[in-house]
């Protein structure tokens, strides 16, 4: 039971082993093994969620094994394989489990080289779960890089026309982010001789140790590390000037991969910002909160305005992601429990919503062969169920009360109004714009006259409808009963904030 985080992380490898033995011609078997192989992790992560003690602060299910020593000048620097889960990672692990399984179902649209696809897909899951569950920075970095390489292949082989360019751009941009992260982690290693999160917490929240450090000129170094971390996770999130790669990925990757990319991978940026920024560098975060808030504002407005003028449905959603990630930044910048809760809520909620919308896109592309808005229209007559789901997803995206988007936006803005009312007030413009671009996209695809040549488009099969309804169920669940994810993270976030002295 204590080893649960490790089981969750490595379980997909079981599927990898099985897949390796299936000849690549047997596509049906490969598909089903690929989908089934995501189930152990899902079941275990739900088990983790159920047995997670919400009344306890700190890391649970922690376990660590000795990995290796690095002898440096007679000292031995210890590198541990440490895993564990706390209130911040719990919700993210749970949605990763859910989204990966559903994305595996959406991967049934993949028509070629299924064996390689599912191998990499499962590897990607290992990486993502590991990122959220690792309690050692070295280990975290390894998992982070696994997601990078796996996603590179998934985009580059199974994407649309410009897949190669997109994959390489994805790789270089994120490689740059990883490079910054690596430098930052190594800086921490050299300052504190350990990359254990628990150990780093001790030092970073021990005023004596910090004072000693700043006397010896470590302050600038700490700032350097902090900035490198913000850039690293800022590229992943992405924060405004670093967002171009992510637009391409949204437009060019296969929809099932975008479900994961938008639903989970981007959230690694948010997770990193909170985990390594807010939690580890409270002083620096406080000082930089103003900048973060402005960056968030730019993200919201820029994303929203551009989403409005896109002709490709995928690009509308891509820009809306930029906008919604801005809300996460605002939540973080508010530096209070509401704001942070909003940020995590937004991560989870946007994960579900974008997974749902891209599932819809996958189904849509399967039927019409296009996602250009002006070549669609009137689809509600031909596929009422799918259109209904799309409408519901759109409502969630624009933040309709009763759905998850509302809760998260409400919390994030509530937090920010406390500290920076003007920024928050301007940010709400983004919410209005969100309603405009979402409704425009939904209306123009599903209502109006049917586009010529679409008379034979069929409505959803049950294999499509059920996963989408599952996603919708979670969206509504969080909307009406936010405690499902609010409860586990409550204490952790409170501790983070209280350490800040706020």
């Amino acid at each position: 039971m204590e080893m649960l985080p490790s089981w969750i992380t490595w379980a997909p490898l079981l599927g990898v082993l099985v897949l390796l033995w299936i000849p690549r011609e047997r596509t049906a078997a490969i598909r089903w093994v690929g989908v089934l192989a995501t189930l152990p992790s899902l079941v275990l992560s739900l088990l983790l969620y159920v047995s997670f003690d919400t009344g306890k602060d700190g890391v649970q299910f922690a376990h660590s094994l000795h990995w290796f020593y690095l002898p440096v000048l007679g000292e031995k620097w210890d590198f541990q394989y440490s895993m564990g889960v706390d209130g911040l990672s719990m919700p993210l692990v749970a949605i990763t489990g859910v989204i990966v399984t559903l994305a595996a179902l959406a991967s049934l649209y993949i028509r070629q080289r299924q064996k390689g696809y599912f191998l990499l897909f499962l590897l990607l899951e290992v990486g993502m779960m590991g990122v959220f569950l690792a309690r050692n920075l070295f280990l975290f970095f390894l998992f982070f890089e696994i997601t990078l390489v796996a996603a590179f292949f998934l985009i580059g082989i199974w994407g649309y026309v410009n897949r190669e360019k997109t994959a390489i751009q994805f790789l270089l941009y994120n490689g740059l982010g990883s490079a910054c992260m690596l430098l930052a982690f190594m800086g921490l290693l050299i300052l504190f001789r350990s990359l254990e999160l628990s150990r780093l917490h001790e030092v970073m929240h021990h005023s004596g140790a910090l004072a000693q450090l700043s006397q010896s000129g470590g302050d600038t170094l700490l700032w350097g590390i902090f900035i490198a971390l913000v850039i690293a996770f800022g590229i992943k999130l992405p924060i405004f000037p670093f967002h171009t790669w992510m637009l391409r990925v949204h437009a060019e990757a296969p929809p099932a991969v975008v479900m994961i990319h938008s639903g989970v991978l981007l959230k690694m940026g948010a997770y990193g910002l909170i985990r390594f920024g807010v939690e580890l560098f409270p002083v620096q975060t406080q000082a930089a909160a103003g900048v973060l808030a402005w960056l968030g504002l730019v993200n919201i407005l820029y994303g929203a305005v551009l989403a409005f003028s896109q002709r490709d449905l995928k690009r509308v959603l891509a820009y809306s992601s930029v906008s919604h990630m801005g809300i996460i930044l605002l939540g973080i910048a508010s530096l209070n429990v509401y704001g942070l809760q909003g940020a995590v809520f937004q991560s989870v909620s946007h994960g579900f919503i974008s997974a749902l919308l891209f599932y819809f896109i996958a189904a849509l592309y399967e039927r019409t062969g296009t996602t250009q808005i002006d070549q669609l229209g009137g689809l509600a007559k031909q596929m009422p169920v799918l259109s209904g789901i799309f409408l519901a997803g759109g409502m969630a995206l624009l933040g309709l009360p009763g759905m998850s988007g509302f809760v998260s936006e409400f919390l994030a803005f509530l937090g920010l109004f406390e500290t920076r009312p003007w920024v928050a007030a301007t940010g709400t413009l983004g919410l209005i714009l969100a309603a405009v671009y979402t409704l425009r996209a939904v209306m123009q695809t599903t209502f109006g006259p049917l586009h010529a040549g679409r008379e034979r488009v069929k409505d959803s099969r049950w294999t499509e409808a059920v996963p989408m309804l599952v996603l919708l169920f979670f969206i509504v669940l969080i909307g009406v009963y936010p405690d499902v994810i609010g409860k586990p993270m409550q204490l952790t976030l409170q501790t983070i904030i209280s350490r800040m002295g706020g």
Partner: protein, 503 residues
Amino acid sequence: MEKVLLDYDWTVMAPEIIIAAAAALLSLADLFLRENTDRRFFSWFSLAAVIAAIFFTVSRFGQQPYEILGDTYRVDDFALAFKTAVLSGVGLVFLLSAWGVRQEEIRFRGEYDYLLLAAALGAMIMTSSADLITLFVGLELLSISSYILAGIHRERYASNEAAWKYVVQGGVASAFILYGMSFVYGLTGSTNLYTIQQRLVEAYQTGYDAFVLLSLFLMLLGFGFKIASAPFHMWVPDVYQGAPTPVTSFLAVVSKTAAFALVLRIVLVGYIFLYQMQIWQQVVEPVLLVLAGLSMVIGNTAALHQTDTKRLLAYSSVAHAGYLLVPLSTLGAVLFESTFYYLIAYLVMTMGAFTVAALLEREAGHGNISGFAGLSRRSPGTAAAMTVFLLSLAGIPVTAGFFGKFYILMNALSTQHFWIAGIMVGTTVISYYYYFGIIRQMYFRPPASKDRMRVPMVPALLLVIGILGTVGLGVVPEWAVHWIGDLQWMSALTPLNAGPPGP
């Protein structure tokens, strides 16, 4: 007390003697065998000799340092470690040659093997001598054998061109080294590194400081050529491309390792006093760091638009020389450890990559990167192996290359050299582009022909060794790190106390 020749324990030289004997034996056999006899077993024989030499080298670990004839031959942990690495590299090259060098292509199949053994012998001397004369002899033995090996494919124009360029530029480099050494001799009156160590300080303090630095920089000029660092890298792409692939892998792996052993030994033993006098930090370190930075930038950017696999790997080798120079210039706490670890990592991943390159060269008949197209369809195993090697070369976890870079970076950061760490990390990201360029060919492009590619036993074995090494060193670095960390590296820097020969 005067020692007579027979007072020395000559068994410590067993590895060198074995290699020399094998080379002599093969050269005789070559004479007596008929011209059209298949000489492929020469490679197997040489491989056996190398394995025996490795055995004798490894069995000496843990014993006291020992020297013969006033340090002209010296075994300490430094020498043993580098010799093991050199010999392992040579062994892998012979394995590759046993399959990849064909008599119908290279007429001098016999010469090939014993020249390679001679080169290996030179490399071994470079690792385990502390006298300028023997070190230089080792260097020249390695270099001259390599010149011939680069041009051994006599019918091919590229091979001739490679040999020609290599001879000319290599000769110039050797001349610079020799010129620098002559200054050292002039200043100190000795060729023994430990005597030099003492007397250079005096020379420096008595007004000859400019000459001391001049001698160092003249030698560094030549060393820069031998380790293939920028801006002395002009020969690298042409020679790597033109030479037969097993020879290229030898140049990349063995020559580089031996050259680093030589550089570390001479520079650190002879000039370490500059560090205590703060001159190192002011003069030498900036120069070395600029060399390192230039190598990384030039190697990694020039590799971006290469279309020939070996040429691409050549520029990658320049970049790696840059990474490897960082610990030497910053002199951190884990200088030897990180350099050596990286060299082993480089050995396994580069040998793997060259094996795949050789396979495809034979299969496609050319060395262009397009030969990789669709490899994942034609031979999934080979493609996966190459992916592992490339990821490692690009420094992506969980591979040997990543951990090696991590180790080097740690050294650089702990000595507060942030900008070189920044360049290293930045150029590494640039290098993703061309390493992944090959991966793109293998996985994203359709194959030229549909038939599966057959991988013979020997290259397959090499690939397995490469993968085990690359992944093993990355996932469980502890084994290697501990072994390396326990070695008495510093014994290389101090002279033996005169005493009776060991037991």
